[in-house]
Subunit: 344 residues, 2 copies
């Protein structure tokens, strides 16, 4: 099995992505297909220990920048690292693509090259959040900023199948993110979605959950629109970083504290590892015909390595047939196709 | 100056609210008007040191429960602690009301008894969030779950005036919460609001901000709809609690760690105090004719005390004339009145 990796995507560029990808491929026991300008990729490979990892480089001379318009960039740059990688998935040369590049462009390329799973109106980005009891899948994280209720139902169905297979959870519980637990709470979208989720096949609906319930681990899957999901994820990252920084400032404020803090370094490290959003790997794009993992633009080597491992596992599971079967049984594929708002 | 306090509101009841209110009144140098069933309030007062605080109890035999329908409860229970307290504000007997009770009922009572400031279509709940650089005002926290763009503009104007007066910040910067910094990012509401905020009088607009930017303290005011604001606040609370609990588990996992942790107790305490959302006091309801502070249902004594202090300060400032003048100058009071969705 080969995993394609966009070697030039992300804020840190190939010198971080390439070693990260190799570490991940070695851990997952997969081969790598690196896409990007060949000279740049080869330069990043120089001096990296590649032993035990089969590596192929596919030339992709064009670059999609982080602030390029997603759909336009994908159409105008067919030889970009993202589109070339997506084609490798389409052609079966790679089992999955990992990219830390322009996430809108990754989504647009996935829609154009791989297409949607039959019955799915809008793909969603899903990500695991660390919780008190383990982890919880939050979706959508930004693919669909103004979904209809029926889209949220499909997100719940896809998220349930993903968690069932990824974590081995039987009938994972699904919460609808809201501003209160009562069924009458929520904005218009949430109030319209609630009864649909309660009746949806393949969804073990647990009702509304609040923002504080995500880290409490009260449900396995939390469903929300891509705008709120993106804000929630970034607030969580921001607060975790803020608390860590505050604490670091306090425990190093005096010499005695510094000495005591030295003794607690393993404890701090263990707590940070539990909280570290980089540790949880990339976010799968659910609902397209193929395995695509969107890594954070700020991904470090560890995050890229984890994303490659997640890509290998996800490709092995291939959820597409199960998703297609579930939504076909729901009879909810009746909406006309429309362009994704963050992508178009 | 007297501050009215709903003595029976909140999850912990009068035995927490009453001593908290007294502590706050003593600190702020104000008198207290406690509303609730007189026997219950008197019982909570017994054994509490009330020296130096002038206390009046106003009989309010009816109780609005946390899960009562807000507007119905306010109409049917005119002798409830919330409505009696609101009337005390209306009549000028109290300069402000603090309640940790049913927040929807507090909003409904404020609208019915005090009314809106001329030109304001929808009042908003505002709250301070601790940040790297101090604190930031986030609004709306749940009063208006499906606002129109013009409502967000009014939130920005009210929030700017509040922060300018409360923190002495000149021309506070305002960010619009979104899923990306670029002007084209956001859901439909955010994209429609962006140009209005850029042109709004009294708003020093800094563009879109992401969830992680709130705790980074990049702006003084963050504006969002009440659904997203509520989720963001509760995610922040949840993550802060989660990180604290994780850390506590790690630093007490072994005896040597426990001993080192003892030395660091002051450091932990200082970090927790910076993060503690209870320390920041209640959330003002901006846009009504009078000062109303909504305290968290789970408020402990410290939180209630802080809310009373905030109430005293807010009442002194009386923002209503400045708000009315600013929105009149904006010519944006042209929308027909409509009931608040979380309240109706």
């Amino acid at each position: 099995v080969n995993i394609a990796v966009d070697a030039v995507g992300g804020d840190h560029g190939p010198d971080v992505v390439v070693p990260g990808a190799i570490a991940g491929a070695r851990r997952a026991g997969v081969g790598l297909i690196l896409t990007g300008p060949e000279a740049v990729v080869r330069a990043a490979l120089a001096g990296v220990d590649v032993s035990g990892v089969a590596i192929e480089v596919i030339e992709a001379p064009e670059t999609i920048a982080m602030d390029d318009h997603p759909a336009q960039a994908v159409r105008r740059k067919p030889r970009s690292s993202i589109v070339v990688g997506m084609n490798a998935v389409k052609e079966g040369r790679a089992a999955a693509l990992v990219s830390a590049g322009n996430s809108g462009a990754v989504m647009a390329a996935a829609l154009m090259v791989l297409g949607r799973i039959p019955g799915i109106d809008r793909p969603a980005i899903a990500g695991f959040i660390p919780t008190r009891t383990g982890r919880c899948l939050l979706l959508d994280l930004g693919a669909v900023t103004d979904p209809r209720p029926q889209h949220l139902v499909q997100f719940a169905q896809m998220g349930s199948l993903f968690v069932a297979q990824a974590l081995g959870v039987e009938r994972p519980t699904v919460g609808l993110l809201s501003n209160g637990e009562e069924a009458a709470k929520g904005n218009n979208l949430v109030r319209e979605t609630y009864p649909l989720l309660a009746a949806a096949p393949g969804v073990n609906f647990a009702g509304n959950v609040e923002g504080k319930d995500i880290t409490r681990g009260v449900v396995d899957v939390v469903v929300t629109d891509g705008f709120t999901g993106n804000v929630a994820l970034k607030v969580a990252e921001g607060v975790a970083t803020f608390v860590g920084d505050l604490l670091r400032a306090e425990v190093t404020a005096t010499l005695p504290r510094k000495l005591a803090a030295l003794l607690l370094r393993p404890a701090f490290r263990a707590a940070r590892a539990r909280m570290d959003y980089a540790e949880t790997g990339g976010a799968p794009l659910l609902g397209v015909n193929g395995t695509v993992i969107i890594a954070h633009g700020r991904s470090n080597e560890t995050a890229i390595a984890n994303a490659v491992v997640v890509a290998g596992q996800s490709a092995e599971r291939d959820l597409a047939p199960a998703i297609a079967a579930l939504v076909a049984g729901s009879g909810n594929s009746t909406l006309p196709p429309e362009p994704a708002s963050s992508v178009g």
